[in-house]
Amino acid sequence: MTENKLNILLAEDDLNLGFLLVEFLESSGIQVKLYRDGEIAFNGFKSGDFNFCIFDVMLPKMDGFSLAKK
């Protein structure tokens, strides 16, 4: 992780959209970490250092709202 790059956590269960978002954001010079469900995303959030997070509302295991609250 380079210091000057934005680091984002992305939680999206739709793999196609997730993959595209990652590609798009990375091509814009932003570093993205993609998680498929709420629980993994929460664990990833605890272990990582992110500038901000983007959650889908409908997520397996834990929805976006609950994840944001947590």
């Binding site: 739709d14 959209l17 929805d63 609950s66």
Partner: protein
């Protein structure tokens, strides 16, 4: 409308109905009293007129005067034998009828000084007896003509009873129709809520593939790809997402068909076991992704039914998909069949999250989705089970659910066998 407002309106309506009931009862009591007063007035007028008529008839007067000269013990015999008693009766009868009083009555003459009168006077005061002084007819004081109506109470009840009964019936009908309207209103409210939820779901389901297509095409447009491989990937993605959209539109059209009750069933001889196997192969991919297992146990000896292949396969797919969708652990699904009477029973059992008892009666309703609180992690429009029920019933079958929260659910479908 908020629930509190609803409660206030309901309370207000009930208060109005009870106020109406109270007013009605008050009016009925008032009416009975009024009838009594009219009756009393009519009888006293009739008696007055009778005395006046008797006074005018000199023949009757002289006979009566003669009778009243003799012993009071023999008075009644004398009056009867001389035919006067009948004439008095006739005169009273005629007058009462002119006042529309056509009920049985007793007539007697009492001495105002005798003991018998004292008790009668009490009753007269209570309105049970009606009396008129005989002075002018017999030319001396101390005698009264008394009339009593034994069926007076019945007469009043007959007159007011019908009114009372009709009031009670009408009020009862009013309460019944209000509660029915309330039930309908609640149902409409529920449908409105479900429709809102459906719209939310639909827009979410459409947004995801649309966003993917927008993003992928944007990447291609701005040439943000490193090699042809990536380009192909984006193209595939657009193609697949487009397919997803088509599938969604089909689902919505399907939903519209359910809404309009427009289904064409082309029924033919089908083997349920084959339909189930077809259904399973349709969901194998999703099941494989989730790492679940599916087992079948076909105990039914007879498994031929007269049904629509497409719809029947759809309902099998629907039930298995639900079993996969609503499970937090690895889905283990069991499908069994058996013959009961002239029917085949198909059971789809899962180890999923289960459905709480209080929601079980609603799950076959259109757009209904079991509330999950703030958890928005299962996609769907809430039409699958409504469709299952519709199809099963169109095949003269029935569908039931047995479920325990956190343990699993069993859907039971009965279909009549082909004879």
């Amino acid at each position: 409308m908020k629930k509190t407002v609803q409660k206030y309106i309901l309370g207000f309506t009930l208060v109005i109905v009870f106020a109406l009931l109270a007013t009605q009862v008050k009016w009925i009591i008032y009416s009975i009293k009024f009838q009594e007063k009219v009756f009393q007035k009519s009888v006293s007028l009739a008696l007055n007129q009778t005395i006046s008529n008797l006074t005018k008839n000199k023949g009757i007067c002289s006979v009566m005067q003669q009778c009243f000269e003799c012993d009071t013990v023999k008075l009644e015999t004398q009056l009867t034998s001389s035919g006067v008693w009948n004439k008095i009766h006739d005169a009273i009868n005629e007058e009462l009828r002119s006042y529309d009083i056509d009920i049985d009555y007793d007539v007697f003459i009492v001495e105002t000084v005798s003991d018998t009168l004292k008790s009668i006077q009490k009753e007269i005061r209570k309105g049970k007896y009606y009396s008129q002084c005989l002075n002018e007819v017999i030319g001396k004081t101390g005698y009264e003509l008394v009339v009593r109506f034994p069926s007076r109470t019945k007469f009043f009840l007959e007159k007011t009873g019908l009114m009372f009964l009709s009031s009670v019936v009408l009020i009862f009908l009013l309460i019944a129709s209000i509660s029915y309207l309330l039930k309908l209103y609640r149902k409409e409210l529920l449908i409105a809520e479900h429709t809102k939820e459906l719209l939310n779901n639909v827009s979410h389901e459409f947004k995801t593939p649309l966003s993917s297509i927008a993003l992928a095409s944007n990447m291609i447009r701005k040439r943000r790809y490193s090699d042809n491989m990536k380009l192909e990937n984006y193209a595939d993605l657009i193609f697949n997402e487009n397919k997803k959209l088509q599938h969604l539109v089909e689902s919505l059209l399907h939903l519209a068909a359910i809404e309009r009750n427009e289904f064409d069933y082309s029924k033919e001889k089908l083997n349920i076991h084959k339909i189930i196997k077809d259904g399973i192969s349709g969901v194998e991919m999703i099941l494989f992704e989730k790492g679940g297992k599916i087992s079948v146990k076909f105990d039914a000896q007879q498994s031929d039914v007269f049904a629509d292949k497409l719809h029947l396969t759809n309902i099998v797919v629907n039930l298995i998909s639900n079993a996969i969708k609503y499970s937090k652990k690895l889905p283990i699904i069991e499908i069994t069949t058996k013959n009961i009477d002239n029917k085949i029973l198909i059971e789809v059992k899962d180890n999923g999250i289960g459905i709480a008892l209080k929601y079980q009666k609603y799950i076959f309703e259109k757009y209904y989705r079991v509330p999950t609180g703030d958890i928005h992690n299962t996609k769907g429009f809430g039409i699958g089970l409504a469709y299952v029920k519709k199809v099963v019933e169109a095949h003269d079958g029935k569908v039931e659910v047995e479920s325990e929260l956190h343990k699993g659910t069993v859907f039971k479908i009965w279909l009549p066998l082909l004879n």
